[in-house]
């Protein structure tokens, strides 16, 4: 009897360790697969950066090399000297920053009012904003172009900005957060203490919205930074290109030079990738929020 119990006990033990060993092996296998897959996802970007440091001869080498044999800074020096790359980056940067400021401001104000104030028509206003959120920018881009044109703002930073002043989703996001995380009692308490509406907004509401506003800011910045169709249409003079348009139309005026193009792309990409790795949490938060629309 005792013998049997003992046997059973060891059998169980054996099964458990078998199971553990098996799941460990499968974990190891999954990790191996995921590492390979993750590397292949970033491989195109690595290749691009590697190309930036290759000599013209090596770029024509077949089969292509992954790591430059004689790394050179030539491409980078030339692209900075011969093209308005830095100017385009500056255009994109100021466009993205101004757009972020505008979107964060309008979303904070409209989100707060639409979330906490009740007066006639406010639900209609919100429904309209929600409904237009579905409509892609490309649908109304052409009439918007003529509005910008009639103001004489083509080829200017302000013309670019017109397309990216507000974000329906941002208003929606902030309103959700206001309703969820800012209790009416808190606002009432401040008002009873004699605080004015402006004071309440700046000293009670805004500090509580810091998290969602940061996430929205990151989202807005990258939306403008990676915008393509709108800048392509609004900015047709080379000095007013954003970096995305500048790179896409790189051949005009310059002969196509894969090394230069790769160098330019790498110069644009490295800071944004670094920024992403540093701000990963805000990024993920911002993009994750877009998934909670329903």
């Amino acid at each position: 009897m005792k013998q049997l119990e003992k046997k059973k006990f060891f059998l169980n033990l054996g099964a458990i360790s078998d199971y553990a060993r098996m799941s460990k092996a499968s974990d190891w296998f999954i990790d191996f697969f995921l590492v390979l897959f993750s590397l292949s996802m970033v491989l195109p970007l690595i290749i691009l950066i590697s190309n930036a440091f290759k000599t013209p001869e090596e770029l024509l080498l077949w089969p292509p090399t992954l790591v430059p044999e004689n790394p050179t800074l030539d491409n980078i020096v030339r692209v900075l000297g011969e093209t308005p790359l830095l100017h385009w980056i500056w255009n994109s940067l100021s466009f993205a920053l101004l757009s972020t400021v505008s979107i964060v401001t309008t979303s904070a104000i409209a989100g707060y009012i639409l979330g906490k104030f009740r007066f006639f028509g406010i639900n209609i206003i919100f429904s309209v904003i929600l409904a237009t959120a579905i409509i892609p920018f490309e649908v109304y881009m052409i009439p918007l172009y003529f509005q910008v044109k009639s103001l004489g703002l083509l080829n200017s930073l302000w013309g670019l900005l017109v397309g990216y002043l507000v974000m329906s989703f941002g208003i929606f996001l902030i309103r959700q957060n206001v309703i969820q995380y800012i209790p009416d009692e808190l606002l009432e308490a401040a008002r009873i203490d004699g605080a004015g509406e402006f004071w309440v907004f700046f000293h009670v509401v805004l500090p509580l919205l810091r998290g969602p506003l940061a996430a929205l800011g990151v989202l807005a910045f990258f939306q403008a930074w990676t915008a393509f169709a709108w800048p392509l249409v609004v900015s047709t003079a080379k000095e007013s290109y954003t970096i995305e348009v500048g790179l896409a139309l790189f051949h005009t005026g310059f002969t196509v030079d894969l090394g230069l193009l790769s160098a330019a792309s790498a110069i644009v990409m490295v800071p944004s990738v670094t920024l992403f790795v540093v701000l990963r949490r805000q990024f993920v938060q911002g993009f994750a929020n877009t998934g909670l629309k329903e």
């Binding site: 996802m41 892609p136 008002r191």
Partner: protein, 295 residues
């Protein structure tokens, strides 16, 4: 009195935001709808009302039909690649949350989604390059003859699907991961105690429970797919000097009609078609969700 003060504050604060909103969103949306029923060449002053003529013409316009076809193929192609692959990856990453690499997985899968589009597309253009690209090099290593990726009418669309999927994948994985984290763990535990294998749990619990998320990601992917422009512009056009076969997409055709052919009304009716497609996709999503909630 206090109530009135609050009302005045609300109106004062909201008005500028609403004015901007109306001017950069509502006005152009309304204008798109209005122009689609008019004939307007940029140069002429009058814009005669033509009813649905633009739409009639669109559906016998070979260029538009080609664009519509290409765009539909690209949108559904991206969907077919992205949904299964992202669900599979998300489940694997979720299972290895404790792994010391999990941050690396999430970062590198998500990176293509946030990296600037044009430089990333450049990288892919070089990868697909028939003469110098690593893809053909890898193929020849496997004994497969090199392909003219960006020139062949079928292959060039596949290239665009690959590029778009590479970009969308990270977003879909992210949304799936959130869905997985919100799944009730008791359910998965119960399944395990009942002796369900990992594969069974995946098919019979995880997949059905994630249905609303799958629906949402599908609609987002399709809408983005129907708006595809930059990817085709870089990969399949004659920019960068390197000639490629042109893959016409809806947005491309629309912009060309407006700014090259100066047919703004006609272009606006194309925009309306795009709008209708997006609305149908969104309505289908809502409808399926509502039916699900009823049962």
């Amino acid at each position: 009195m206090a109530h009135r003060k609050r009302l005045i504050f609300a109106i004062l604060a909201l008005t500028p935001a609403l004015l901007i909103y109306g001017w950069v969103r509502l006005v152009p949306i309304f204008e798109t709808l209005r122009l689609s029923l008019h004939q307007w060449n940029i140069l002429s002053k009058n814009k005669p009302f033509v009813g649905l003529d633009n739409f009639h013409e669109l559906f016998s316009d070979p260029l538009f039909l080609e664009a519509l076809f290409n765009t539909t193929v690209i949108a559904f192609g991206v969907l077919l690649v992205t949904i299964p692959l992202s669900l599979f990856l998300a489940v694997l990453i979720y299972n290895r949350t404790k792994s010391s690499f999990s941050g690396f997985y999430e970062t590198s899968v998500f990176l293509p989604h946030v990296v600037s589009l044009v430089p990333a597309a450049m990288a892919w253009k070089w990868i697909f390059d028939a003469r110098l690209g690593p893809l053909n090099a890898a193929l020849s290593w496997l004994g497969i003859a090199p392909q003219a990726w960006l020139f062949d009418p079928v292959l060039s669309i596949i290239c665009i699907i690959v590029l778009c999927s590479w970009q969308t994948l990270g977003y879909a994985v992210l949304i799936y991961l959130i869905g997985l984290k919100n799944l009730p763990s008791t359910l998965l535990e119960a399944a395990r105690l009942d002796g369900a294998s990992a594969v069974q749990t995946f098919w019979h619990i995880t997949v059905p429970m994630l249905k609303p998320i799958t629906l949402y990601v599908s609609v987002v992917t399709l809408v983005a797919g129907f708006n595809v422009y930059a990817q085709a512009f870089i990969l399949a056009s004659d920019s960068q000097g390197a000639p490629g076969r042109q893959v016409r997409t809806l947005v491309h055709d629309m912009l060309e009609n407006s700014f090259r052919n100066y047919r703004v009304g006609y272009a606006a009716s194309e925009a309306v078609i795009l709008l209708i497609i997006v609305l149908i996709l969104t309505l289908v999503q809502f409808k399926i969700l509502r039916e699900k909630n009823k049962t």
